[in-house]
């Protein structure tokens, strides 16, 4: 910037002959530009801005804004010095490298004035370069052979995949038919099973109703006898009046009137008691007993008793226990599911009293075992269900395989599918502290050698960007770093004759870089490219 503003005004330099050493006036000029530097004419800076006397070229003073007047000196900060490098290839270097004591040209021409002696290394360099080229050519050739194998394998993988897909489609059709059949069989097997189970259930319910009735009758009889303290087969107002618990309004005494309202008469017979009184008082009625303990128990029982003692209830189970109960049930269900993942349809079993219920019920209200016939039907239905589940699983498996294959088919695995055989393959790189494992197109992990859990450093994200898209793989969104970004891995692919990771580094915290050799990136045109190469910048 500074120098530019100076250069601007150099146009105004005035007259006077200027003498300087004409020796090597054309130093550092590229051969293709030599025609621009004609000693008998004024020199026009290559950017066309100004013309200067030719004596100003390479006079160790910067006149041109583009530095073109000083290709052979370090006067301009932006000039280009051309090293001829005989025996090797000519290159241009920044002209500020001229005379700085560093041998930049293999012919040493950039250090022409310096005390330091630059040996001419062009011959050796050329030799080395040729060897290196040869090595690279060979490597790429061998690599390309491997690559072609990989591509060929990718082809057969593709064909295999296609065949397999077809096969699987076929199989799927068959399996789906089979599944339908199995479903029908299941349905058929479940019909009689349900019928028999229903029948069994119905019989049990009827049985239970009869038992309920008998129990009520018994209770009623007991209560009547209980109330009939004078045993005259009649329950009188007096006899009932002692049961003050039956007094609906506790404000006043249990009056005759109130008692009579319950009895509907001065006294009732057993039949009348049964038809009009029992239902009224059965909920509140408390048997008068001698023992205090009994009384308390009965009080508790009657207090908590439900209006319909016959129905299944969780008497005496606290909320806490209920919760535990349900948790247990859940756990139980889970275990069931673990035992048989597909056995989701457990409705049938839910109505069955649980073992816990058994212990909690005073009365034995447990349904009896199914009869042998029903059991037989259940067994048949179970079999049908299992068959169905198996069939279902097979369909699922095949569908998944199809999906995977399709996904893989859609995956970009190189221009010619050359990365195909690496799909899902894992490669390790051993470093002092860690093993790095990359599973291609999936994920990469870092495994500490001294024990400790492995850390995912990235999941497959994408190829690099053009023009060398397939020379870079990106794995991102790994485990987040403390105080940093989530981990990521960039794989730089390089031609090699086998697939292997040869280096892993972490240039920035949590951003890993791997160098991976693979024939897949070997270049079939390397020979042509190398022979057209003008510079050795590649090395």
């Amino acid at each position: 910037m500074f120098v530019r503003s100076i250069a601007l005004i150099l146009l105004l330099f005035i007259h006077d002959a200027f003498c300087h050493n004409n020796k090597n006036i054309l130093r550092g000029i590229q051969s293709s530009l030599l025609s621009m530097y004609i000693p008998s004419k004024p020199f026009t800076c290559l950017d066309g801005t100004i013309s200067i006397p030719f004596e100003f070229v390479n006079d160790d003073y910067c006149d041109c804004r583009d530095g073109s007047d000083e290709p052979g000196t370090s006067a301009c900060p932006n000039g280009q010095f051309f090293c001829e490098n005989k025996g090797y290839v000519g290159i241009t270097i920044p002209s500020h490298f001229v005379g700085d004591g560093v041998c930049d040209c293999c012919d040493g021409s950039d250090e022409y004035e310096n005390e330091i002696i630059c040996n001419n290394t062009c011959f050796e360099l050329a030799k080395k370069t040729n060897e290196e080229r040869e090595r690279r050519r060979l490597l790429h050739e061998q690599g390309v052979a491997k690559k072609n194998e990989m591509i060929a394998k990718a082809g057969s993988i593709r064909i295999e995949r296609k065949n397999r897909l077809e096969e699987l489609e076929e199989q799927l059709k068959r399996l789906e038919t089979d599944l339908n059949e199995k479903e029908e069989l299941k349905r058929q097997a479940e019909e009689p099973e349900t019928a028999h189970k229903d029948k069994h259930q119905k019989a049990w319910e009827e049985e239970r109703a009869i038992r309920e009735l008998a129990r009520r009758d018994e209770q009623m009889q007991d209560m009547f006898n209980d109330l009939d303290t004078n045993q005259d087969k009649l329950v009188s107002i007096k006899e009932l009046q002692v049961h003050t618990e039956l007094d609906n309004d506790k404000e006043n005494d249990f009056t005759d009137e109130e008692v009579k309202t319950i009895l509907g008469a001065d006294s009732v017979t057993l039949d009348e008691f049964n038809s009009t009184v029992f239902e009224q008082i059965s909920n509140s009625y408390q048997k008068i007993t001698q023992s205090v303990t009994n009384e308390q128990v009965s009080t508790t029982e009657s207090n908590k008793a439900t209006p319909e003692p016959s129905t299944e209830e969780d008497h005496g189970i606290s909320d806490e226990e209920k919760r535990e109960h349900s948790v247990d049930d859940d756990a139980h269900d889970k275990n069931d599911m673990d035992d048989n993942l597909d056995d989701i349809d457990t409705k049938d079993d839910i109505d069955q009293p649980t073992s816990l219920d058994h212990t909690k019920h005073v009365h034995d209200d447990t349904a009896p075992d199914f009869d042998d016939e029903t059991k037989k039907f259940i067994q048949i239905a179970d079999q049908a269900r299992n068959d169905f589940k198996d069939a279902e699983k097979k369909v699922r498996d095949v569908k998944k395989e199809i999906e995977d294959l399709q996904k893989r088919a859609e995956m970009n695995l190189g221009e010619h599918d050359e990365f195909s055989i690496m799909y899902d393959q894992c490669y390790d790189y051993e470093e002092r502290e860690y093993t790095y494992r990359v599973c291609m197109f999936k994920s990469a992990v870092q495994i500490p050698k001294g024990g400790g859990s492995e850390v995912t450093i990235g999941y497959w994200e994408s190829w690099g960007s053009e023009p060398n898209k397939y020379s870079v793989m990106k794995y991102t969104n790994g485990v987040s770093c403390w105080n940093g970004p989530s981990r990521s891995l960039t794989i730089h692919l390089r031609c090699g004759i086998e697939n292997r990771a040869i280096d892993v580094r972490e240039p920035t915290k949590c951003e890993y870089a791997m160098i991976f050799e693979t024939p897949a990136v070997c270049d079939e045109n390397i020979g042509a490219k190398l022979s057209h190469q003008d510079t050795h910048t590649e090395f």
Binding site: L10, L12, D16, F18, S74, D100, V102, R505, T508, K509
Partner: protein
């Protein structure tokens, strides 16, 4: 480097309460003591006697030698006696020492700071009215020692009253005492915290009890005081009326906060005061924990002694003048105060420099650009970063390696899996004229298999607990111990670790960096040593805390000096420092952050360091913690390219930020900033040479060059580089305009990029874009530059020079150029240097030099740019010896710019350029 690393940070979070789990901002201040939590500060801040009980017995005066007077002094409350020594020193300086006359334990007097025993000048004393002793010394200096109550007044230029000691009666000297005082002596104040003090989980056992000293030093007629680093605060010191005092206690503050008086990594207990009439300074040589309260007062002149009343120079007599009072408190040691009476800023710099030393001329590459990161991972990484600079054609001189280069933080070793051949690596980098720096911290890993540890352990070289066992703490390597550099034998032994034989893999191309040397102890009180650990000579860390880091970098410097047989100039960078650190080390401002506010704060921090003698200073470019965006990074490069120590550095958790990683445009801007730095290296080098000789810092506040321009006194967004360049770095995002005050009387300022002139005594509104680094060359100066580009400074040593002559209103200008081989001591030993003086006057530019020096160089004068030349001349001729040449010239009317093309003489010859 940051204090806590991940794993350590997490495990330690249990012990330290960090301010933020999300790790966003700021230090946890509760990890560090407030004045109220430091009992001696609390006691001294509370100390406000009606009448100071201290009295000097003038009749006891003894003249030890001419210039050294001795008195006895007494605390009339408890009859404790003191010895007061006055030393009248050359160059308008005075030293006063106050110590206990018969202490029960010898009080520590700081060693390793003074360059020499200061030179005395004779003093003429006379007793005035029985209670005062007047002393005249030097040409114009005067003191007045008042007997009862004790007071010392100081005058410069005969009559200008500039400093007063104990005029606020805060002098308070806690003598050593026995814990159970059977002698009936009553403590001065409460016993609170005198014998034991607990902070957080740490208890300081204080076996020797209270020992603090407080004193007030007032600056009558001054409104601005500066210095007392290191604080991340404004350049002009603020009143501490509503805050804690400024603190001196070298500590590793994790993610330090800005705009507060908290202690940081280093301490220089030196304050400067400046007004239109005078610049003065006060330095208290004390290495203990210290605090300074600042108050802006009014001084009522009615109450002053009549002898003083009329001594406010030429200003009219007022009833009230402004005054700044500083109240200093140190935990132990003695009072050893130096008073510098100026009267000019340059005089004060020189006076302080004579006492504590100046920055020796660094090797030239140390003034160039440094590339650092925690961490360059391995030899390939170093090779690639070097190649990046080559490829992007960005000049660079030094590549740095942080702690990860070692084998498990065992300094003087290499992680050989990553650095299998460090010698070759240094050699390869050296091929480009470049150097390398490795880190070497003071904590020594406790590991019997580590030679440095095993040797030091067996020799009992470590700092000890008070029970005599080795003190052990935590730092990077885990359990560690610390060498006791106070012991000269250990100091030398440590120096010797840097010999080529002991430091395997080091070469003459390798230099050093001492970090964590406060020292940082992760599990220590306030992240450092407990105060009761014991050093050589039965000293507690309490007495010597603030010089520990300096001793380490002094030993490192010595090691590098010795390894070359005293031929090569060492380079050492330190984080912790003390007064005098400048003699052996560059300093950086530690672990800053990638924030605009930190970029802005760098200027006041670097100015505070510069004016207190620590002149080779810089802040991490880009900010150490977190990631700067491209704009901030570019602006930081631009600002730092005009600050003395220019180094990019970043935390291990940050993204890579080498200059070429932010797109072509930003690469270009960064390259330009670095190239600009390189173009001014001849000027920087000349300034550092002058700095070594004259103690004037390279980076200066505006008032140092324009001491009479009151507008400059509070400026901290601009600064001077030498007397020629005014720099106003852009420290805000998205600005298109900046206001820049251009100081001086009838001065012209030329934009260094466009040569556009601006007049002085005005605030110029300057339009800026991303390329702008507002820098102005002062009319009247001649600045040498190298406008050629090179990869590194060492490869440019023989390149030609461009002289930029900026004319003042009288069409005159002057300047200097210093040159030598760039790296050896030949400039000192054999006068192998060139020191040119250029003078432009009467249409003639002359180059003259001191013939006693001699240095062969092929450098020549390539170009002379004369800015502000009134008209296109007819002819320019140059005469050097017997030869006369007629170089070409061009003239640009609009910018009044005359450019002489290839004037041609060698830099080492005398010549005269004549314009007619």
């Amino acid at each position: 480097m940051l204090l806590y690393k991940h794993s350590y940070y997490i495990s330690l979070a249990l012990f330290f309460c960090f301010c933020s789990i999300t790790f966003i901002q700021c230090v946890d201040r509760s990890n560090f003591k407030s004045c109220d939590q430091s009992s001696f500060c609390r006691r001294n801040r509370k100390y406000k006697p009606d009448v100071s009980p201290y009295s000097v017995d003038l009749s006891s005066m003894k003249t030890i030698t001419d210039g050294h007077l001795q008195f006895t002094m007494m605390n009339t409350q408890n009859s404790v006696k003191f010895q007061l020594d006055l030393f009248t020193l050359e160059h308008n300086s005075l030293r006063m020492k106050i110590n206990e006359l018969q202490p029960i334990k010898k009080r520590y007097e700081v060693q390793n700071v003074l360059v020499n025993e200061p030179k005395l000048v004779s003093v003429t004393t006379s007793i005035l009215d029985g209670n005062q002793l007047e002393g005249r010394f030097g040409k114009t200096s005067r003191f007045l020692l008042v007997s009862n109550p004790f007071r010392l007044d100081l005058f410069t230029n005969d009559n200008i009253f500039v400093m007063s000691v104990n005029s606020k009666q805060l002098f308070n000297f806690e003598h050593y005492r026995k814990k159970q005082s059977s002698d009936g002596e009553t403590p001065l104040h409460d016993e609170d915290g005198m014998w034991e003090e607990t902070f957080k989980t740490h208890t300081d056992s204080k076996p020797h009890g209270p020992s603090s000293i407080g004193i007030d030093v007032s600056f009558p007629n001054f409104e601005n005081v500066y210095g007392i680093p290191e604080h991340a605060d404004s350049f002009v010191l603020k009143s501490t009326h509503d805050t804690d005092p400024y603190r001196f206690f070298n500590v590793d503050v994790f993610e330090y906060d800005i705009q507060n008086p908290m202690a940081l990594y280093g301490s220089v207990p030196y304050i400067l005061a400046h007004n239109e009439q005078a610049s003065v300074g006060f330095f208290w040589l004390n290495a203990a924990e210290g605090w300074v309260d600042i108050s802006n007062d009014k001084l009522n002149t009615k109450n002053l002694l009549s002898t003083i009343k009329n001594f406010f120079g030429s200003t009219k007599v007022q009833n009230e003048v402004p005054e700044i009072t500083t109240h200093w408190m140190f935990e132990s040691g003695i009072f050893d105060g130096f008073f510098f009476l100026g009267p000019t800023p340059k005089d004060v710099f020189k006076q302080y420099g004579l006492i504590t030393g100046t920055t020796p001329l660094p090797p030239i590459w140390a003034l160039a650009y440094h590339q650092c990161r925690w961490n360059y991972n391995d030899e390939d990484d170093i090779k690639n970063v070097n190649a990046g600079f080559e490829h992007n054609m960005i000049p660079m001189d030094v590549l740095w390696l942080d702690i990860e280069h070692t084998n498990g933080k065992r300094y003087f070793t290499w992680d050989t899996s990553k650095f299998p051949d460090p010698e070759k690596m240094q050699h390869d980098i050296g091929m480009y004229g470049r150097k390398m720096v490795t880190i070497s911290d003071p904590h020594i890993k406790k590991d019997d298999g580590y030679q440095v540890y095993a040797d030091a352990k067996s020799r009992r070289y470590f700092v000890q607990n008070k029970d005599g066992s080795d003190y052990e703490g935590w730092c990077w390597p885990g359990s560690s111990m610390w060498l006791d550099y106070l012991n000269p034998e250990i100091f030398d032994w440590y120096s010797n670790r840097y010999s080529y034989a002991n430091y395997k893999g080091s070469t003459s191309n390798l230099f050093l960096w001492n970090d964590m040397n406060e020292p940082s102890v992760f599990n220590g009180p306030e992240v450092t040593f407990p105060k009761d650990v014991v050093h050589f000579g039965d000293l507690e860390n309490r007495d010597v805390h603030n010089i520990y880091g300096m001793l380490q970098h002094m030993a490192t410097f010595k090691g590098l000096f010795d390894r070359s047989g005293g031929q090569e100039r060492p380079f050492v960078l330190t984080r912790s420092f003390f007064a005098g650190s400048q003699k052996t080390s560059a300093v950086w401002t530690g672990d800053n952050a990638a924030e605009w506010s930190h970029l802005k704060m760098a200027v006041p921090m670097l100015l505070s360091l510069s004016v207190t003698g620590i002149t080779f200073v810089g802040a991490d470019v880009g900010g150490f913690f977190r990631n700067p965006d491209a704009k901030l990074l570019v602006r930081w490069y631009q600002a730092a390219s005009f600050q003395p120590f220019f180094r990019e550095h970043a935390h291990i958790d940050t993204a890579r930020r080498e200059p070429w990683l932010f797109g072509d445009d930003n690469t270009r801007l960064i390259r330009q900033a670095i190239e600009t730095r390189y173009s001014y290296l001849p000027y920087w080098y000349t300034l550092f040479y002058k700095q070594e000789k004259q103690a004037v810092p390279a980076m200066l506040p505006l008032w140092a060059i324009f001491p009479h321009d009151t507008q400059t006194f509070k400026i901290e967004d601009s600064f001077m580089i030498g007397n020629g360049l005014l720099v106003h770095p852009i420290t805000d995002a998205d600005v298109t305009e900046v206001s820049i005050y251009l100081p001086g009387d009838n001065t012209i300022w030329y934009d260094i990029r466009t040569f556009v002139p601006h007049n002085s005594s005005q605030t110029a509104l300057i339009t800026v874009d991303m390329e702008s680094i507002p820098v102005y060359q002062r009319g009247g100066t001649i600045i040498p530059q190298r406008l050629r580009k090179r990869r590194s400074s060492m490869l440019a040593l023989n390149d030609p020079i461009t002289l930029v002559v900026a004319l003042d209103k009288n069409n005159e200008a002057k300047g200097e150029l210093y040159m030598d081989d760039g790296h050896t001591y030949d400039y000192k030993k054999n006068r192998q240097f060139i020191y040119r003086r250029f003078l432009f006057k009467n249409n003639e530019l002359k180059s003259r030099y001191d013939p006693s020096s001699k240095f062969d160089t092929s450098a020549w004068i390539e170009r002379i740019i004369i800015i502000g030349y009134p008209k296109n001349p007819n002819k320019v001729s140059i005469n050097s010896g017997e030869q006369t040449a007629i170089p070409l010239h061009s003239y640009h009317d609009q910018q009044k710019l005359l450019i002489i093309r290839r004037p041609g003489p060698s830099v080492s010859t005398d010549w005269t350029l004549t314009i007619s």
